[in-house]
């Protein structure tokens, strides 16, 4: 560690450090490039903290295991990449309807299928929201640096605990594998949120009866609170029901408890937006190129700025709308063939032009490519 308290740390390592700081004590996973270091370091560090690591037979089982671990009262996480993320989708929906907090890290690599294992991509932006079937809540966060990976992994756990829902931590190979300086924070400097537990006697506990904040208190298995957990649509007791009124109410509550609280976790960065006529919207690894591009464009007297969402889901409608009111053109730069841009268009196209900068060859979009697409000299 240097004099200012910084250390050279890899993105994937920072994710584990953040998870441990947040209180992760159970990790189940199946190693896959470029996320493997997350499993590896978790395996190394968890036992010393009284936690458990288990390598499961595949990603379906890994996802199931972290749901079980969370139900037993632990904070849990798994980490994967595209192919594994696809396999986890069914059980992500299970965690959503049963309201079991957990964190799912996806370090994105080139796809589809096994694709480009060692190369960056951002092909799972839509999958992070719509990958599992049915209407369901979706929270996804995307860091763009090693420091941010640490800090937002903590927030991912906090949101999972607070809203009782799976949270997707959407990294990419660039951020996961790069090493840069990171400041380790003391536990006292980090805000940690734990799930709400019941205060009533076990015999009075109604497992899925929400408080006014739409979130039911959660009792860990094994402490005498007996209840039923089912992926079927259920009533407040947790037992399945076909009742139309109850079904409608449940699905709406699951989505509303997240969507209506978006102001609580709207994380983003604005860079040189004050007078920007050209706004680049980028996230994750690409946003670093976009920031360099903004500086290059400014040198050519082009009024460019950057809006960088860290909260990818729910979509930051309010902020993107505001940005679009002042912009002439918005360029969405992403390592896919146009995913986040669809949401930006939905909100911004009535106010300004929305264009797409895309790349799917396994390399990070460069600042030069962004500058060129916008019409600057390079």
């Amino acid at each position: 560690m240097n004099k200012e308290g910084y250390k050279l740390v890899q993105g994937n390592e920072a994710c584990v450090e953040g998870a441990l700081a947040a209180g992760m004590r159970f990790f189940a996973g199946y190693p896959i490039t470029p996320s493997t270091e997350i499993a590896e370091i978790s395996a190394e560090k968890l036992p010393a903290l009284g936690g458990r690591f288990i390598q499961m037979e595949d990603e379906l089982a890994s996802m199931a295991a972290i749901i079980g671990g969370s139900l037993a009262g632990k904070k849990t996480m798994t980490a994967t990449s595209g192919p594994g993320f696809s396999l986890m989708q069914e059980n992500i929906g299970y965690a959503a309807i049963t309201e079991i907090p957990c964190v799912v890290v996806n370090v994105q690599r080139g796809g589809p299928s096994t694709g480009l294992p060692t190369s960056p991509a951002q092909g799972e932006v839509m999958q992070a929201k719509w990958g599992t079937h049915g209407d369901h809540p979706a929270i996804a966060l995307t860091p763009n640096s090693v420091q941010e990976t640490f800090e937002y992994t903590v927030k991912a756990f906090n949101l999972a605990e607070k809203y009782r829902t799976p949270v997707i931590f959407l990294m990419d190979e660039t951020v996961g594998h790069m090493r840069e300086k990171m400041a380790f924070k003391d536990a006292s400097e980090i805000e940690i949120i734990d799930r709400k537990k019941p205060t009533c006697k076990p015999e009075d506990y109604v497992a899925y009866r929400p408080d006014e904040d739409m979130i039911p208190p959660m009792a860990p298995f094994g402490e005498g609170y007996r209840y039923h957990v089912s992926g079927l649509t259920h009533d407040e007791t947790g037992f399945p029901t076909n009742n139309n009124e109850i079904s409608e109410k449940l699905v709406r509550r699951l989505v509303d408890k997240v969507d209506k609280n978006i102001d609580d976790f709207s994380y983003y960065e604005e860079y040189k937006l004050e007078d920007a006529e050209i706004v680049i919207i980028a996230y994750g690894g690409v946003s670093r190129s976009a920031k360099s591009a903004v500086d290059d464009l400014r040198k050519q007297n082009i009024k460019a700025g950057l809006f960088r969402p860290i909260t990818i889901w729910p979509f930051l409608e309010k902020q993107v709308n505001k940005v679009s009111l002042n912009a002439k053109e918005i360029y969405v730069a992403e390592m896919n063939l146009g995913q986040y841009v669809l949401e930006v268009e939905r909100i911004a196209c009535k106010n300004c032009t929305v264009k797409s900068i895309n790349k799917v060859n396994g390399e990070l979009i460069t600042p030069e490519e962004i500058v060129k697409a916008i019409g600057g000299n390079k």
């Binding site: 050279l8 060692t118 790069m178 090493r179 300086k181 670093r288």
Partner: protein, 178 residues
């Protein structure tokens, strides 16, 4: 200091990524901004391997190298692939086994890196640290203190190989001095 961009290239298993990590780590310990990235194929051994380090006093946004100030190539394949990415007055460090194209505008240091590893240390495993010594010698004085480099090597190589690796580092410095 001005931004310094260093690219290390070779074949998978030669340890260029570890050498880059050690250099970036020393950069951070020195109090600089440093970033290290890599690209490699799915193979554990063989195949092309490339690692990059950027050192700067300023914030580093785009994490990759556009024009390298220093390029290390331990294999012909790596040299062929990356020599055009070196800036015109940059520094090229190649193993003596590499055949140059002959139209280099930059400074070239052809060094017996792989042979020295084999003859002096009886293992190819230290070729990366010999290379690191050469890079350190040629990157300019006063950027990173030597004791910080040695500490960075010590922290990042297996404990029983520390002496061999620090010796290899000194050997690399000597080779670059000529």
């Amino acid at each position: 200091m001005k931004k310094l961009e260093i690219r290390l290239s070779g074949s998978g298993g030669q340890g260029v990524i570890l050498a880059a990590i050690i250099l970036a780590n020393a950069g951070v310990e020195q109090g600089l901004n440093a970033i290290q990235t890599q690209s490699y194929g799915p193979e554990a051994r063989g195949g092309a391997s490339k690692a990059e380090v950027i050192l700067s006093n300023d914030e580093i946004n785009y994490p990759k190298i556009t024009r390298a100030n220093i390029l290390l190539s331990l294999t012909q394949k790596a040299y062929d692939k990356y020599n055009s990415s070196l800036e015109t007055n940059g520094i090229l460090i190649v193993d003596e086994s590499v055949k140059l194209s002959g139209d280099e505008t930059f400074k070239v240091y052809t060094l017996p890196i792989l042979r020295t590893a084999q003859e002096k240390f009886e293992t190819q495993l230290v070729a990366n640290i010999i290379s690191l010594g050469a890079i350190y010698e040629l990157m300019g004085e006063g950027i990173i203190d030597k004791d910080i480099m040695i500490r960075s090597i010590t922290e990042r190589v297996p404990a029983h190989t520390v002496q061999k690796n620090t010796d290899a580092f000194e050997e690399g410095i000597k080779l670059a001095r000529g």
